[in-house]
Symmetry: C2
Subunit: 374 residues, 2 copies
């Protein structure tokens, strides 16, 4: 086995685990900040590590366009290039090809598309994606797949999922197995239970180091997503990590952990840092709001990030009004720290058999909302 996964404890469907990779251990449930272009936007990698993040996600699509996988390989791989010595998971590029690129042409062989940056033509296939992720030196490689939109007809989802499963097989075949490196398959099937089942069976037959649940968080809403998560994780092997791709808000993550998911990634904490939104245990706060203008209190009482330790809401509000980069830097740091604190809290609760209490408190706090204005 290329990647070792230990399950230390369970509570209901939730699992406390340890994933061993070439570049270190990832404690699960884990949240992966997104480092799209070889940087977690507006953060030094040292700061990302300080938040408690143990693994990052890199985007194959973005990195193949700029600076190109060959250059990253020449520079010693993505870890060295971006100064991050902990594990990295890379997506396959499939999702971004569908969502960002222009003039796509999809065939059984793969996808031809034009770069959203300069219109240059590229080709991605299972084999190409594996080659690129290998050059990037990803600890965890994702199989190349197609992700259907929501809503989507049953027939289209079925066809797409079946092609993705054939691509999964080609991905596995093209993946170069090495100790400490692994490849995850991606379950598709949209919101159709029988397609999810068929996809899971196909993936298990191929055999992967971990299993992702793909094709969710694409506009179906939390209720529908949870309906799928009520059964989809159970279809995947118990002894392997389960990764819900592109999810999500804090309450999405808590709900998914309760349903047996181990890994997450999302641009939400970093993107929100660039739009003045902060995540706190009492829900979200938009620091641009005038109510914070003269507020001498920290953003979130008890948070140990630099923003909450050293600054007032008034200061961050001021930085935002002046479009200062430091606002983005501090809010991003806070948000990533918030996500990692949430994951640490979930893991601690799991290890102490207090998950139900932790989750109940989480929801109660989220419902309280932000402290009243002064």
């Amino acid at each position: 086995m290329a990647l070792e996964f230990e399950i230390l404890k369970t509570s209901g469907k939730s699992r406390l685990g340890k994933l061993h990779t070439k570049h270190g251990v990832v404690n699960t449930p884990a949240f992966m900040p997104v480092g799209t272009c070889g940087t977690v936007k507006a953060m030094m990698p040292e700061s990302v590590a300080q938040t408690g993040a143990e693994i990052l996600l890199g985007n194959t699509y973005h990195l193949m366009l700029r600076p190109g996988a060959d250059l990253v390989e020449k520079m010693g791989g993505l870890h060295k290039f971006m100064n991050w010595d902990k594990p990295i998971l890379t997506d396959s590029g499939g999702f971004q090809v569908m969502s960002l690129s222009a003039l796509r042409k999809i065939t059984e062989e793969g996808v031809t598309f034009k770069s959203h940056v300069d219109g240059k033509k590229f080709f991605l296939s299972p084999e190409e994606s594996m080659k690129i992720q290998h050059k990037l030196d990803s600890d965890i490689t994702m199989a190349f797949d197609e992700c259907t939109p929501y809503p989507c007809t049953y027939k289209r989802c079925q066809d797409s999922m079946r092609m993705s499963m054939r691509w999964a097989e080609r991905s596995k075949k093209a993946f170069v197995d090495r100790e400490g490196y692994g490849i995850f398959g991606i379950q598709q099937g949209n919101v159709f239970k029988d397609l999810r089942e068929e996809s899971a069976l196909a993936l298990k037959k191929i055999g992967f180091d971990g299993y992702a649940i793909g094709g969710l968080a694409i506009g179906e809403g939390q209720e529908k997503m949870f309906e799928v998560l009520d059964y989809a994780p159970d279809m995947l092997p118990k002894d392997k990590p389960r990764y819900l791709m592109g999810v999500g808000r804090p309450d999405d993550i808590v709900g998914a952990v309760l349903r047996g998911v181990d890994m997450f990634d999302c641009v939400m904490p970093t993107r929100s840092g660039r739009t003045s939104q902060a995540f706190t245990k009492y829900g979200t706060i938009n620091i641009r709001n005038a109510r914070h203008r003269e507020d001498p209190r920290p953003l979130e009482e008890g948070c140990d990030c630099p923003l909450c330790t050293h600054y007032t809401r008034a200061y961050i509000h001021h930085l935002q009004k002046c479009n200062e980069v430091l606002a983005v830097m501090l809010l991003t740091w806070h948000n990533v720290r918030y996500y990692e604190r949430l994951m640490q809290g979930l893991r601690k609760a799991l290890s102490e058999d207090k998950l139900q209490d932790y989750v109940a408190e989480f929801y109660a706090n989220q419902q309280k909302g932000d402290i009243p204005a002064l």
Copy 2:
């Protein structure tokens, strides 16, 4: 005396000194990074301190507009507001009123102007500027003055300088003297020696804790500036710090130190960080240049900043191409560190009686230019 200034050593006209302020000691010659709106753009204050900076400059004009001096005072002063516990010097707002605001009306009483942010009307006078700088809790307050453009007729420079000297007297009178806090007067007179002399005499008569040389680096070029600096510092008291406002490029600073200047501020290192330009001992480098695309070498061999320690030119080039915030963060850090290393080098050379050697090496290296492309 409100501010104590020790001169530890001299070499020609150059001086090695220590300026004692409420918030700590500033070793001179000193460079002050600019924190216009209560933040050194794109840097955490901890990082600014790590570069070796011992004092920051804050802008009265920007801070009076946003967030307003009353709010900063309410938040415990500028140090606490922006999480910087070392000394702060604030300018008087005079220069920015002239260069940034609209619809100025200047009278003997002061200046009425409209904010460049929202068009709101403000009034600044010596008394108002002192009041604002007091609220900001500046260690070093600057007298309120008018800065003439370049070129400028003798008559206009004379009139303006004389009004600035009357304003200097009103500034001194309005300044609240406290232990560890001080006020600097500003010599004006543009490039006219007799006006500089008249200005210096007027300032000395009033008596200040330090003396700035204002009205330079406004387009006259280095040669003309050095011509003025060949005599202007000598007109100011020997036992007080001399501060050349808004200067400059590394070789401007070295030339000015040789001419007896002790303090500097400039947006150059931070602004350049936002336009891809890096200062190095071999001159400036624009990291956007295609020659750096595949260059695995550090930006500047021997520099101990995070950019040069952990990253390749290829990586920074990549970040720039992708407009990543981290590029700005790292380049700004490097540039400020470069400036502070330069000042540390000058101080060390002064303390070891090796200033001539240091300066000769500085110029030789600057002339070499960047290392050849690979």
